[in-house]
């Protein structure tokens, strides 16, 4: 290149150039993410009525951590190792398993610690319960957290496994497969309102496709959205259908990274089909699987629309999820401080999974 064009060129060293290029991002990031986050935390320390403060900025009152206490704690709360024996014993068993796996060298130190910590939480947290005459200050918060966990616990494996199977089946360079890939991806681009509308019609006991099929076989239709046994399943099925696309594309990318040679070598050793999938595809996809699972966990903790639009959190709160509770507290009940405290709680959970993703990602780089 000629020197003439560089006549007015600013001489920036690497550091300055980086700063200039980063500024737009940092500005947007600061204004739309960092500032609102700290503002949210600030609000969570106040008794803050949405409407009252809008009309009179002095109407808020600093209450310290009282919102957190009111949401998460109660009167005469006790801890017992057998308050919820199943979950707690399961937690203990997983701690033991983590130690064992580390001893025999099947998992790395970091993974063992991560699993161990998660299991320890499973042992400790469910142990809290109100003692004689005691009560939670907010009777709905922990059940809502529980519902959210159940939703995530069902949706994430559902999405990951279905997407993996689809990706493996569609990982061929033919025109039909390309078309099918597009079809399976299409649901991902729909908005939550459209998705929930489609599935509300599907689940309708009167005109729904599912009811018509059960009718065909002589069964009485399930009233999915208002039956406590099926309501959560209904929003999980909807969500799996909706979020397959991205996971499938990530898996396809991962699959195409696996060298053909491996499969050829395996075929010589008489391993093909399911065996090849188990011994070659899965181990080579480990990183992609971790990425998909953690991304999906973080995504689905924020579930809102499906519960809000399909079941209204019902019946009997069985599909009430954390973000919907935050929304109701903030906008229906105008209790912005309380809602912000719950939002900070949700942030901590999702933050923990982000850290986990980061740690696992680094570990495999090393």
């Amino acid at each position: 290149m000629g020197r003439t064009s560089g006549q007015f060129r600013l001489k920036l060293n690497e550091r300055q150039a980086a700063l200039v290029l980063l500024t737009p991002f940092l500005a947007v990031y600061g204004v739309f993410l960092v500032y609102p986050f700290f503002k949210g935390f600030w609000i969570s320390l106040h008794d803050w009525n949405l409407l009252a403060v809008a009309f009179n900025p002095d109407a808020k009152e600093f209450v310290g951590l009282r919102n957190y206490q009111r949401v998460m704690w109660g009167r005469d709360i006790e801890w017992g190792a057998f308050a919820q024996p199943f979950i707690q014993l399961f937690g203990l068993a997983v701690i033991g398993l983590a130690i064992f796996l580390r001893r025999v060298g099947r998992v790395s130190k970091v993974t063992a610690i991560a699993i161990g910590l998660a299991a320890a939480l499973l042992f400790v947290l469910p142990g809290f319960h109100p003692g004689e005459g005691g009560r939670w200050y907010d009777r709905r918060f922990w059940p809502t957290v529980g519902n959210t966990l159940v939703f995530v616990g069902l949706t994430v494996p559902g999405v990951a496994i279905t997407a993996l199977i689809l990706a493996a089946a569609l990982n061929r360079e033919t025109r039909a497969m390309g078309l099918l890939r597009t079809i399976f991806f299409v649901s991902q681009v729909l908005s939550v309102t459209v998705v929930t509308l489609i599935w509300q019609i599907m689940f309708s006991p009167r005109q729904g496709l599912i009811a018509n099929i059960t009718d065909l076989f002589g069964g009485s239709p399930i009233i999915w959205l208002t039956d406590e046994r099926f309501a959560m399943a209904a929003i999980v099925i909807t969500t799996v259908w909706w979020s397959l696309g991205i996971a499938m594309i990530l898996f396809l990318a991962g699959l195409q990274d696996i060298s053909r040679d491996l499969y050829e070598a395996a075929a010589l050793d008489n391993a093909s089909g399911v065996k090849a999938f188990w011994f070659i595809t899965l181990p080579n996809l480990k990183r992609t699987i971790t990425l998909v699972v953690v991304l999906q966990i973080i995504l689905h903790f924020q579930v809102f629309g499906q519960s809000h639009l399909m079941t209204n959190g019902g019946p009997d709160d069985t599909t009430q999820v954390l973000v919907r509770y935050i929304y109701q507290s903030a906008f229906r009940d105008s209790e912005l401080g309380r809602a912000s405290a719950m939002a900070v709680f949700l942030f901590v959970i999702m933050g923990a999974f982000s850290v986990l993703q980061f740690v696992l990602g680094r570990e495999e780089d090393a």
Binding site: L50, L51, L225, E228, P315, D317, Q328
Partner: protein, 426 residues
């Protein structure tokens, strides 16, 4: 060149000054795409209200009305967020039960001194309507209707069960009779006696509340929740006995229960005044199973007549009155237009609020109007509270737990009382 530009700019200013004042309007009731401006021809709540709004926009000189997109289910959340963000619509609809919350914070304009100048005669409002929009000595809105729960009746099914006398349905006067009638209908027709949305929107709550009021009880008194008591138990069991006997289905939501009634699968539908003209129009259609449609006052199963009721009203934000005299004047003109069209809104099935309309022949001649004249006298609601929405939600949740998930009545009522008490204590 400079002169040309300045002249053009001045011309533009004058032109825009002469242009219509835009009034933004927020409402629920649902969407109607092609409502037109004929306020006499539209059918159903969404289209009737939109035709009135379109007519206001077309007929009021110097005012255009822009209806904002809002969603029924999240209406109040949207309105609150708009107020909190400082951009509420210039006029918006609301229920009387929300006045303590909104007016109590100073969100709504006190219209008392400006209504007469705008051509709205408050002395023509029924006393209960004036009461509905009054708060702490001020008038915070223009009332549009009284609405209440009714019993919508399929007369053919009732006749088959022998429950029609002198052209009128025979309705129960006690919980025992309710069950007996229900079984009569089941045996004679094979269909359910009663349908309602027990599964999603709070129609089941309103039914239960009415049965509590009929025993002179209420869900709270001052700052004390009063739900875990015999009155509530009686009210709930009056309904659950129908589910237990298999003569009503608790799992139908609003759309499904309505469809069941129109399909002739239920003799009675419990729903509000807002669907009378719609069901009347549906019953006239060849393909709809419901043919012989009748509307009845909510029957008295206990001591005192009572049915759930509320009022729709139109309000203006305090900020518009304080900061924008022209906008406020335009908004008042829109409210006056809606007030003038009270008879058109009453075509939905709602009860009018203006004496001059209530006494008119046009009103008396509306379809089915003479069948539920007793409703105005038994209209009730829960005591005013800033936490109305949250309290309704608690009741809806716990009652649904009873009919949908088999939670025991005692536990559900105890839980409901504890949670409502928490809300009252906050």
């Amino acid at each position: 060149m400079k002169h040309v530009l300045i002249t053009a700019a001045a011309a533009a200013t004058i032109a825009s000054g002469a242009m219509a004042q835009e009034v933004t309007l927020g409402r629920f009731f649902g969407a109607c795409e092609d409502a037109g401006t004929d306020t006499k021809a539209s059918v159903g709540e969404p289209c009737i209200i939109q035709s009135i709004i379109n007519a206001a926009s077309a007929e009021i000189d110097g005012v255009t009305v822009n209806t904002l997109p809002t969603d029924w289910g999240n209406y109040y959340d949207q309105i609150k967020a708009a107020y909190a963000g400082g951009t509420p619509p210039d006029v918006h609809v609301m229920h009387r039960h929300r006045i303590p919350e909104f007016a109590g914070l100073g969100a709504l304009a006190d219209l008392s001194d400006d209504l007469a100048a705008a051509g709205i005669d408050t002395s023509d409002w029924a006393p209960a309507a004036l009461d509905a929009v009054s708060f702490n000595g001020g008038i915070y809105g223009v009332p549009m209707d009284f609405h209440a729960n009714l019993w919508h009746v399929n007369m053919d099914l009732m006749a088959q069960a022998g429950l029609v006398e002198n052209g009128q349905p025979v309705l129960p006067s006690s919980p025992e009779e309710l069950l007996a009638h229900a079984q009569q209908v089941k045996e004679a027709t094979g269909q359910d006696y009663l349908a309602a949305d027990f599964a999603q929107f709070p129609i089941g709550v309103r039914l239960t509340l009415a049965l509590m009021w009929q025993q002179d009880a209420n869900i709270f008194d001052g700052d004390t929740a009063t739900i875990d008591n015999d009155a509530a138990r009686n009210a709930v069991t009056a309904i659950t006995q129908l589910f237990d006997a298999g003569v009503a289905n608790p799992q139908l939501n609003y759309a499904d229960s309505q469809q069941a009634f129109l399909n002739g699968e239920a003799a009675i539908l419990v729903n509000g005044t807002w669907v009378v003209d719609f069901y009347d129009a549906e019953a006239a259609k060849e393909e709809v199973a419901l043919d012989n449609y009748y509307v009845a006052d909510f029957p008295t199963l206990f001591d005192t007549g009572a049915t759930w009721a509320d009022s729709h009203m139109w309000a203006i934000p305090a900020s518009l009155k304080a900061n924008d005299a022209e906008g406020y004047a335009a908004a008042l003109k829109v409210l006056a237009f809606i007030n003038d069209h009270n008879i058109d809104w009453a075509r939905t099935g709602h009860m009018a609020v203006r004496n001059s309309v209530l006494e008119s022949d046009a009103y008396a001649n509306l379809p089915h109007r003479d069948e539920y004249t007793g409703t105005a006298a038994i209209a009730r609601d829960t005591p005013p509270s800033e936490r109305y929405g949250a309290i309704q939600d608690v009741l809806n949740r716990e009652l649904q737990a009873i009919w949908l998930t088999g939670k025991s009545v005692d536990m559900a009522l105890a839980d409901a009382e504890a949670e409502v008490q928490d809300l009252l204590d906050r």
